[in-house]
Symmetry: C2
Subunit: 241 residues, 2 copies
DNA sequence: CCGGATCCGAATCGATACTG
DNA sequence: CAGTATCGATTCGGATCCGG
């Protein structure tokens, strides 16, 4: 028996031996959003030591959770195996559970695109979305920008690139440059804000104005905020505040 | 920010900070079966260092997951708070996930009463049980003895005490001494066996005969084995072997 | 830049001994 | 029973370095 084994023949014990080491489940969280290169993972986990990231990736491969895929062109990505993808409901449930214990963010806590994407998936209520017309939302939290498209019971979240994020500060909703062909612009744009922070579990405060928070719905009506709240299970009172 | 924090404002990160330390989730697993004293936990986690157990219990209390309750008579127990109990579906799902990766037990792996109880809860299919008449099963794995009573969609598992476990070796099913008033004796008695090992994720092999495994249904018919397999989602072929 | 490997001090874990 | 105290063994964190 390995020296560091828990010494029990049990499913929970086995699971914890596979994905219970420090940082491992956060790597899985980011890979649940999509395949990622080594550097992407490092950027998404700013405080992970590089040797630990390399070690965990090896261990997760040995565990059959992660696969290393060379890219046709050059470079390589890590992606979850089918077995690893089975962790999705568990990670989402853990996120929901942990969310309830979250207080105010520490001043130098960070919100990453992948953690925010998973937070949206966590909060998404397909049953609430099903009754509504398809809607797109842009979310800006710190320097992360995401576009969430809700359509029937489906949720699609993608990152906004630098051009699309160009619309910040006071002219939110004005610029339209970045919208790509297959993906119409958002029906609403949210910036930081306490209500948003509530659901998407993230607020980054690079400047004071943003820290105090704003929720703006520049291209739709205020009812969109309520729809957003219902779809993502925000406390509407907090969102309205 | 604490030096050891992951530095992210995210539900998953928060959850992992609360219950991601080594041994923590296994303490939660055992407490999901019921309140336990310090020495019970130590016995259920044979390889945990005592200082780590003490430290984790403090951390879990600070996290609001565990509560320390003085006993009226003397001594004290640890129990989960309502927030801690919300981890049950997550721990069960993790157990199911880890179960799929379990190979043969290491020779000195151990099966504890609490891990076995949680394994039964993990494998239990209320929908399969619902159609069946109420049935009791006694399970003997190594020196752990449990009585599982399946009734409608409910599953109740309790430990057999030393007297009740007295029926081992060749005279399994013979002795009836220990059955208490409110809890009729079992309809079937299972001893170790490969099929059993399959579901309940446990085999301890104190002697060779037991290691090779036996499945016996002394007081019912063989159909009980199939019923057990369905209710706890065993591979019937493996169970029959 | 990407994908790590290496080195070293700091923090944590594990084993054992001891105590109210 | 319910833990502390101590100390060596591991692991983690931070920084630097390296080959493609």
């Amino acid at each position: 028996m390995a020296a560091r084994s828990y010494g029990q023949y049990c499913g929970v014990t086995t699971a914890v031996e596979l994905i219970g080491e420090r940082w491992a489940l956060l790597i899985v969280r980011d890979l649940l959003v999509g395949p990622r290169r080594y550097t992407d993972l490092k950027a998404g986990l700013p405080r992970i030591p590089t040797n630990i990231l390399a070690l965990r990736l090896k261990e997760l491969q040995d565990a059959g959770v992660v696969r290393r895929v060379p890219l046709s062109h050059r470079g390589l990505v890590y992606e979850l195996t089918a077995y690893g993808r089975q962790l999705e409901p568990i990670v989402l449930a853990l996120g929901r559970w942990g969310f309830a214990a979250m207080g105010e963010p520490d001043p130098d806590d960070v919100v990453t695109a992948d953690s925010l994407t998973m937070a949206l998936r966590t909060a998404f209520r397909p049953d609430a979305a099903e009754a509504l017309p398809a809607t797109g939302y842009d979310l800006h939290v710190g320097d992360v920008g995401l576009r969430a498209r809700v359509d029937g019971v489906a949720l699609a979240v993608r990152r906004l690139d630098a051009r699309e994020r160009g619309l910040d500060g006071e002219d939110v909703g004005g610029a339209e440059a970045g919208s790509s062909a297959e993906d119409q612009g958002p029906d609403a744009v949210f910036v930081a804000g306490p209500g948003i922070r509530g659901i998407i579990s993230g607020e980054l405060a690079p400047d004071d104005a943003l820290a105090r928070g704003v929720v703006r719905v520049p291209r739709g009506d205020a009812a969109l905020l309520g729809r957003f709240a219902a779809t993502f299970h925000i406390d509407p009172a907090a969102a309205a505040a």
